[in-house]
């Protein structure tokens, strides 16, 4: 049995009066890729953003239930900054900061107080190498990151996350803004990152979920309908609604 990284217990989430998540119970295992699928508006992003407390930014959000990370409830008395260095996030739209490629990677570690130039140099190189971007950008580290292509920008954002050496990487439709070649690169990247990190990815592409994930959770109207091994979900789901969704027969 793999070690459990995240364990949520009857998690409810409200935006004002609107309930976006209903009694979510899910155990996410270490060093696996877990995919969240489901129709638009069913709460996938909302749930993902719970896991690094990104919803703190939205005033109207109210939560009930527990999210146990390792052995602590992250909505309890924990250090949010520390949580976010351990649980990194890659966004749907590539969002490199308007600064140089080097500074983009060094930003997080610098914010944590790392000043040693040599250590930063190594870290930048390592992170970019892991994100399969080093060869493409090693000669232009001091150029602005906004000059990169969309796919390169997204890999830069992954590198930026890796530089924090997190335990978990959350990805919200990381390839939805990219072409098939860039997408393939990022998918390869995810399989190679799996041995070091726990990855949770939201995707609208069944093929993508099928290719890269070990387990898949199907969300519908704020609930998890089914959560199981990916092959099982795609070949022999227990719930009629899951089957309807993955076969495209969904309303």
């Amino acid at each position: 049995m793999d070690k459990i990284k995240f364990d949520t217990k009857s998690l409810d989430l409200f935006y004002g009066d609107f309930q976006a998540l209903k009694s979510i119970n899910i155990k996410i295992c270490e060093n696996e890729v877990t995919a969240f699928i489901g129709p638009s508006g069913c709460g996938k992003s909302t749930f993902l953003r719970c896991l690094n407390r990104m919803n703190d930014l939205i005033d109207s959000v109210k939560m009930k239930g527990e999210i146990i990370f390792d052995d602590k409830d992250i909505n309890g008395d924990i250090d949010v900054i520390n949580l976010r260095t351990r649980v990194g996030m890659v966004f749907q739209k590539p969002n490199p900061f308007p600064m140089s490629i080097y500074d983009n990677i060094a930003y997080g570690p610098k914010c944590q107080g790392l000043k040693d130039k040599r250590k930063l140099d190594t870290l930048v190189k390592e992170s970019l190498t892991k994100a399969a971007l080093w060869e493409e950008v090693k000669d232009r580290l001091n150029k602005s990151a906004l000059g990169l292509s969309g796919g390169q920008q997204q890999r830069l954002c992954i590198a930026r996350t890796i530089a924090m050496n997190p335990e978990v990487i959350l990805m919200d439709e990381p390839t939805s803004a990219l072409d098939p070649i860039a997408t393939a690169k990022i998918e390869d990247l995810m399989s190679s990152l799996k041995k070091d990190y726990t990855i949770i990815i939201v995707t609208h592409s069944m093929q993508q979920a099928g290719r890269i994930s070990d387990k898949t959770a199907f969300f519908l109207m704020g609930e998890i309908v089914e959560f199981d091994e990916t092959p099982k979900i795609f070949t022999n789901p227990n719930d009629k609604r899951t089957e309807d969704y993955i076969t495209g027969r969904f309303g």
Binding site: G88, M89, F91, K93, P98, M99, Y107, C111, S144, M164
Partner: protein, 292 residues
């Protein structure tokens, strides 16, 4: 159907022509004014007009730049700080609404009122003579609302994906503001600073009873603590705008009109140079960030 389509095209053409006419009219008006002031200024030129003697405007020119600089040093940190507070920390509620009303009221106060307030507080209550520093404080009060609003808008306009990206790598709120939001908002904040400085360059009413209407300096004293020194901010000093007004209304000097005309042209060039300089700086910052 066909004729409706034609009508739309005609309406579009008419609107375009009208908008061009309005823009052209203002452009002409502005060009006219500028040309008038510059030409009159050049014709009024006489040797030695930049001198620091009584007949020259060297002291006034220096006072203008000095006063605007001091006022920016005071108002930019406070205004930008207040703007950051309003955009990032102020929670929606009574206190914030009250603050907003205060800022709006302050921004619509006539500058003579600020001038008299400045006289009361900075001159009368402190028991000092008219001085440049008091003038700079008065101008700061004038430009604070503008700086605050511009900064608040600029920070609010920073795309939230930058902010989220920064917080997601474990940066604190303050680190995010200083290292991400402020640089991105900088070009717009610079525009605000240009506008604020413009108020300072052109201000007269707020300075009448704060900085005073005359200067008495000895350009050879360099010790900034000597009240006769040009560099001393705690001495009376009239700026170009005020000087022009004084020359045109009550001066006894025979060629007062010429000096005033020339001063006006110099003031115009000064403001133009300042705006241009700041804009170039802003554009350079912008280019550096967008990687072109």
């Amino acid at each position: 159907m066909k004729s409706e389509h034609k009508n739309a095209i005609v309406a579009d053409k008419i609107a375009t022509v009208i908008l061009y006419c309005i823009a052209g009219f203002f452009l002409l008006l502005l060009a006219g004014f500028t040309a008038y002031i510059i030409v009159k200024g050049i014709m009024a030129y006489q040797p030695g007009i930049f001198s620091f003697e009584r007949t020259g405007i060297g002291v006034e020119l220096f006072n203008t730049v000095y006063l605007v600089l001091i006022s920016l040093i005071i108002s930019v940190p406070i205004g930008v700080g207040a703007g950051i507070y309003m955009a990032e920390y102020a929670k929606a509620g009574k206190v914030t609404n009250y603050l907003r009303i205060c800022i709006e009221t302050l921004s619509s106060l006539p500058s003579i009122v600020i001038g008299l307030f400045g006289y009361l507080v900075f001159i009368y209550m402190t028991g000092s003579k008219y001085n440049l520093f008091a003038g700079a404080l008065a101008v700061s009060i004038l430009s604070l609302p503008l700086l605050t609003t511009v900064t608040e808008d600029a920070i609010r306009a920073v795309p939230s994906i930058y902010k989220e990206g920064s917080l997601a790598v474990g940066a604190t709120h303050w680190q995010t503001i200083v290292q991400i939001c402020l640089p991105v908002a900088m070009p717009r904040i610079i525009t605000g600073i240009i506008l604020a400085a413009g108020r300072g360059f052109g201000e007269a009413a707020a300075l009448l009873y704060t900085a005073g209407m005359s200067s008495n300096v000895n350009p050879n004293i360099w010790n900034p603590f000597d009240p006769m020194s040009l560099l001393c901010p705690f001495r009376p000093g009239d700026t170009l705008a005020l000087h022009i007004w004084a020359l045109k209304t009550e001066s006894m000097t025979p060629n007062a009109d010429q000096i005033a005309d020339f001063s006006a042209a110099v003031l115009l060039v000064l403001i133009f140079a300042f705006s241009l300089g700041s804009r170039i700086l802003g554009a350079r910052l912008d280019r550096k960030m967008s990687g072109k």
